[in-house]
Symmetry: C2
Subunit: 458 residues, 2 copies
């Protein structure tokens, strides 16, 4: 996709240089808002306002929504009040709320001043819901019908009011006091007889969420139930807004990126990787690096403590990286599987013992095979091939027993910590590779030295 947009930036710059504005306008009109935004973000800053003014009104608003907040802010600073009003009027309320959230206070004031009172009220309403709640991603523009309308009346109502609504594919049926009674798809409406009553053809098993529901839970519901839109109600089951599938996809993608970043010991940033400066990256990476470095010194302390043992049988030292890495990998496999399963709402704390028991059996299989492989490798490669005489049969036994126990411990720790974190209300994603590795490192060394001192009498 990007190759195409790259060429376009060239063409557009040339056309601007030649002042062929009519051509530019025709060209841009054929494009998709997301692509126009990409092109504009790549352009020189001073050319932006001119280019933006060439866009047809609706495309301009859609493009504005797709831009990153820096570019948006830059454009707004250059807008006259009239221009700003035109853009704001074309925006969907939830998009307007998203934009306002990212802007500095003086820009927010300007935007809200230009919005008509009704829109301003709706933007403020959405902004008042906590971040990451269903209320904060919903739109307050939707089509609502009454139970005693006929299909024909309903379609007329949609034609009359639907132009500005973000989705009209699912209409919600409410009482006079806005209580949610059911829903009906445009599909059913079109396929119905003209005089069918809404109450008879609507589906009254309507699944809804409350304004305070977690946005990730809501997004997972879209994935599970294949919704196009989902109604949001207040505590009294009164309809206050809807969430559309495109916003749900955005939430799924963002939350997954956040989880993946946390799993890699990164403090999530708001911006995509390619928009981050080195200093942004530094700020998001240094906290965990420092914390994990400090924890790794415990592992160092364990090694210091067994210095005499290591001096006595110096070949033990060479197996430490293999033991630590294998433990870390075995633990990460378990933790990451479970973190993802928790995120997809497939596993929950009630499954704790089932999960641990499954991991124990897996660990026995993996540990057994790895121990055998280690035993063979130590004797064949280290002793025979490399001719290291200090690697005795007992040393081989110590190493392979350590591997087996380390894998068992790693899988149990790796499976337990994310589930416990989830239960305690922490984000399980933090309990991934780096964290597990640090803990398993220390545990595996303790096991190693305990087994070594038992068998080698050191």
């Amino acid at each position: 996709m990007r190759e195409i947009t790259f060429d376009l930036t060239e063409t557009i710059t040339t056309l601007m240089g030649e002042k062929k504005y009519a051509t530019l306008r025709d060209l841009l009109s054929t494009m998709n808002a997301a692509d126009v935004a990409t092109v504009m973000e790549d352009m020189e800053r001073e050319k932006l306002p001119l280019l933006f003014r060439l866009l047809p009104k609706e495309l301009a608003a859609e493009t504005f929504v797709e831009m990153d907040s820096d570019t948006q802010e830059m454009l707004i600073q250059g807008f006259s009040d009239q221009e700003l009003k035109e853009v704001v009027d074309e925006l969907y309320v939830d998009d307007a709320a998203d934009i306002v959230e990212e802007m500095p206070a003086n820009v927010v004031k300007r935007i809200l001043r230009q919005a008509d009172p009704e829109t301003r009220k709706m933007i403020n309403e959405i902004l008042n819901y906590p971040e990451d709640s269903a209320g904060s991603i919903m739109t307050t523009e939707y089509v609502s019908l009454r139970p005693n309308m006929t299909a024909e009346e309903a379609i007329k109502r949609i034609r009359r009011t639907g132009i500005d609504k973000e989705t009209i594919y699912t209409c919600y049926v409410t009482d006079d006091d806005k209580t949610l009674k059911g829903y009906i798809s445009i599909r059913t409406l079109i396929l119905a007889e003209e005089d069918d009553r809404i109450r008879d053809i609507m589906d009254d098993n309507v699944i809804s969420v409350t304004t305070t529901a977690d946005q990730e839970d809501v997004a997972q519901m879209f994935s599970k139930y294949d919704f196009m839109a989902l109604p949001v109600v207040d505590k009294e089951n009164r309809l206050v807004g809807i969430i559309t599938v495109d916003d749900a996809i955005d939430v799924l993608q963002e939350e997954t990126t956040e989880d993946i970043e946390k799993m890699a010991a990164i403090v999530p940033t708001e911006k995509p990787y390619s928009k981050n400066t080195p200093f942004d990256l530094f700020k998001s990476r240094i906290p965990w690096l420092l914390l994990l470095m400090v924890s790794a010194t415990f592992t160092g302390l364990i090694i210091s403590k067994f210095e005499s043992a290591l001096t006595a049988v110096i070949c033990l030292n060479a197996f430490i990286p293999m033991i630590m890495d294998t433990g870390g990998n075995a633990g990460s496999q378990a933790s990451v599987s479970i973190i993802r399963s928790l995120a997809l709402r497939e596993t929950e704390f009630a499954d704790y013992f089932r999960v641990i028991w499954r991991e124990i059996r897996t660990a026995l299989l993996c540990g057994g095979v790895l121990a055998l492989a280690t035993f063979a490798k130590v004797l064949l490669v280290d002793r025979l091939l490399l001719g290291n005489e200090t690697v005795t049969m007992t040393v081989a036994l110590v190493v392979c027993l350590t591997i087996a126990f380390t894998v068992l411990v790693a899988k149990i720790v790796g499976a337990s910590l994310p589930m416990l974190a989830d239960k305690l209300g922490f984000d399980p994603a933090v309990m991934a590779s780096p964290f597990i590795t640090t803990i398993v490192d220390a545990l595996s060394l303790l096991l190693y030295f305990a087994i070594a001192s038992t068998f080698l009498g050191i």
Copy 2:
């Protein structure tokens, strides 16, 4: 969500025991297919056929689609030919194709025998597209309109043919030879005047994909452009099917889970974590564990090679875990950020030098801070607090220089490998934490011993 379904399983089992079939039927009819499927998967196997027969026809088909393939197979084995035909007739073609793909040959034959000839042809068509291609996830049921129809004629056509179509929210406009000319949303159709011509109100900038396009690319397009459906064309730009947003979400979720598994050194399985037996988990985890264990022995070899240096300045040993872990973490941060950015199509190989330069600057910031922290920690904790006299100023300098260089190398390796893998057509997700850790372990030790021998003359 699961709590609710758990209670339901209880209730349903009780009702079945009491043979209250009418109540059961009423209860199930109010439920969502995905929930019915969850309940049924949790039920005792022998009760399934009876329960399934209680479902209204359409709900039965929808529920069938949501079940895992083991349950589906079990049910089909118990179906009479008539029952099988009823279910197959209700299925959307793309769902039927998905099911057929998972079944053993004898079940496939039975299904295809029961399908009507038209459906059978469509199923076979979809099955012929390569796995993970756009063709394999599309449905061949869609609404197509002609450019010279009026809005009124179009709506009539939808009413006549739309009942069986998976989505009618977007209609595609084709020529007589099926060449894709444009698209029009139901929304535009409803809001149009009755005698408007389709060619005048349709959007002719239609984005389409070919049957062989990668399904992940296609799913990312849904995320970028907020589509509800996307047309699939053959090489001659003739419309052959459509992909709907619900299937795109499924692809996004599956591909992300696969990426996350690969990042944790797991060979992806078809089934969700909770459905895997310990032996399944063993098979998906042991290959990388073995491979990485073997690679970790190189690290061991490096330690063996410098045995004499370690015996000379034994305190060097205790810093090895901290150096290796910090290197591994720093490398994982870079690799995972870039793997995700590649997956989201935000970064591509053309950005290579920009990315590396950004990572180098990040590494200098992170490495600098970590080196200072290490220097202070080694002198304050190891020398002063723990009174380890062998930890001299020079040793502290060696350790902190090693940390700085290790972080730099780790970030460069961590950023380069995923991009190179992507360029060479391998899956970049494999180049994550475990793989990077193993490489960085070896590199960091080589750096450590090189720096140590320079400064300590060993």
